[in-house]
Amino acid sequence: EHPWSIAEKRRIRDCQQADIKYLSGWKQWKRTSSKSLKKVLSEVKELSSYLELWRHDIHSIEGKFGTGIQSYFSFLRFLVLLTFVIFILMFSFLTLPSIIAKYGIFNSSFAESPPKNTELHCTVYTPSGNQGLVYFYTYLKDLLSGTGFLEMTSLFYGYYTIDAAWFSILRYNLPLAYLLATFAYLALSLLWIIKRSVEGFKQNLVHHEDQFQSYCNKVFAGWDFCITDPNAARLKHRSLQYELQTDLEEERLKRKIADRTMKEKLRIYSLRIFINIIVIAVLSGCFYSIYRATVFSQENSNDVGNKNFQANLFVQYLPSVVITLANFIAPQIFSFLITFEDYSPAFEIRLTLMRCVFVRLANIGVLLFSLWSQISHCTTDKCKACGYNYELYPCWESEVGREMYKLMIFDFIIILAVTLFVDFPRKLLVTHCSCKPVQWCGLQEFGISDNVLEIIYGQTICWIGTFFSPLLPAIATIKYFIIFYIKKISLIHTRKPAARPIRASSSNFFFLVVLLIGLVLAFVPLGISIAHIPSSKACGPFRSFNTSWAVVPATVLGFPTGLQQVLHAIASEAFAVPFFMVICLIMVYLIALAGAHKRVVEQLREQLALESRDKLFLIRKITEAQR
């Protein structure tokens, strides 16, 4: 393909057509078949573009607000698809077989054998479903906190108390399927995110400069050609001017920093250490309050005597409330503190973002940790025999699932509430009231990083919670679907565009990197739950096993001996150590290769500069000689 106009291409094509008579039959056939293949592929691509969700909405947002904000909405669309696929996976491999087996459709049956080798007291589980006459608000409370009638539905782990299901003659190993489905959705998420981030990764690796783009990128790729709205164009002009001026100033600042004296450097570094200590103190404060709130909530919600509806609900939701408050307050404190640390503006933004990401994701970790400390808190011998606190948590996986469910519901309610009760009134106030402080406050900016962190926080909860509550992805999909429309309406009606320009490419890469961090962080609690903590003996598919992971060795023992030996060999040290060494060698080779290529590029650049000087010299000599 070359940059020719249509008329030129037509001429070239006609020449080619004329030549085609002179080619052999084979070449003719090759050419026509490649043409028809191209046509078929383009038809398929056209059809698939019809299936793209929200194509028109995102296109109009791009036209009005530029590619930076559009990248947020594309990211949201990606998450909708991801959670939907996870839901289909979990539903078809876990929920559907369980429902079919439990209701005996298609000649199916299931086996629920009591676990052997365990104490009887561990296996007692009486879910407190609602019996008799109940008040209406009990249903509401159950819906919001996942107790009562929701407890024994397929929403939670406790429903899947099936050891094996039979469909006619086929035996379906549900415990194994549960574990493998969990690994499958984690692997699928990982691969899909990596595939999407490969493009941005290449660019950001190749660019050794600051992540916030060099001058050429800002000037040559600065203007979004898809902007259609004159207002947006005016704002874009202003933000480009602002960005260029800020970068030039930052460069001048860097030169100034390089000229700093030793005394100033010492002062700055000690100030930074002090502020980092304050940051750590803030974080510890958040973590401690989450821990106390979780412990308090667990202790008091198990107190059945408390019949007061609102108080009970509040106690149930206390951890979620504390986490949301921490997620709101901590970033404000961080952006206030960073102004004292005297970094360059680009680095300031990055550091604040990293701290906010850490706060949000670590909060979930602390919640889970405090839950586990409650669950594994064992004083009596009977309790130690089960491995977990069987009195309070006969089915502890359902309890964890319930906490994740509450977090997700609360997160959704908060997003709705903030849009309805903060954004719209603020917009009404700003348009109708013209007093000074209100106008100075003005409208809220559409802060992309805050919104993205919110979404990623929700997605991390979904990943962790899906093991304990297989239908959670469905709730997440519906939640993201509704959030798309809420954010779109909020953006169009109540927000003013950001003064600071956002670049689509670095945004995309940043979103995916943080999402990946969330996923990796989700591996940790799941790994500990599956492999370390004893599974509950009173409910769930892993009753007859020590831990949830134990189902895999048990299945491997059922394989033929040859296969078993192969699998044992792969998992042994004799294989792992040489494998690791080979991988290290390959990595060293590739790094050396990259270094060599860089040197060659440098040499070629110098050569080019030299040749250009020679050329100018020769031209001068020729003009002199001609005189």
Partner: protein
């Protein structure tokens, strides 16, 4: 609506699909939008009529674009220099700006658009005009002389490999191929 009289003939559609990066829907939409720019009488033979520049600039996609005049100039194949565009010029433009166009084609045309004096290289004057287009046309929205000097110095440092003070096509294409935002910003979709 024009009705069946303003449909593109099928062979032409297939030909345009082959010769541009656009899909069938995009070509049909382009035809519809192009005929809307013409007065009613001329819509029958939209394929062979030239639309004056003032009409083209009324399109919302070009209306807010600071490079509108350069775009019309680069893509117009008009002989008398009035920058009027035929339907094929219009399709050419949309093809280069489409999602499926390859980077080399986009960077080639971007170079021509940014080359304000049409001399085949980007020198300091071109870069200055380019930056002024980006920041807006008001007095207070332009960079000061010192800032402009600093900026152009930085740009040349990053992209001028043979150090002759100008950017030629190969240098431009090299620097744009490493720019992560170019493909997503150099895009017009109807």
């Amino acid at each position: 609506m024009g009705g069946s009289a303003s449909l593109l003939p099928r062979e032409a559609l297939g030909e345009y699909q082959e010769l541009t990066f656009l899909s069938k829907q995009e070509i049909l939409l382009a035809y519809k939008r192009f005929s809307e720019l013409l007065p009613k009488e001329e819509r029958e033979n939209a394929c062979s009529v030239r639309v004056p520049k003032s009409q083209i600039l009324k399109l919302p996609e070009l209306r807010a674009n600071p490079f509108q005049h350069r775009i019309c100039h680069v893509f117009s194949t008009s002989d008398n220099g009035d920058d009027s565009m035929s339907f094929e010029d219009f399709l050419d433009m949309l093809s280069v700006f489409s999602d499926s166009a390859i980077l080399e084609v986009k960077s080639h045309y971007a170079f021509r658009i940014f080359d304000f004096d049409d001399d085949g290289i980007l020198d300091r004057k071109d870069l200055e005009k380019l930056v002024n287009c980006l920041t807006g046309q008001g007095e207070d929205s332009q960079l000061s002389n010192a800032e402009m000097e600093q900026l152009i110095q930085n740009i040349l440092e990053e992209s001028d490999i043979d150090k002759d003070g100008t950017i030629n096509l190969s240098e431009f294409q090299l620097v744009v191929s490493r720019s992560p935002d170019f493909a997503s910003s150099f895009k017009i979709v109807l």
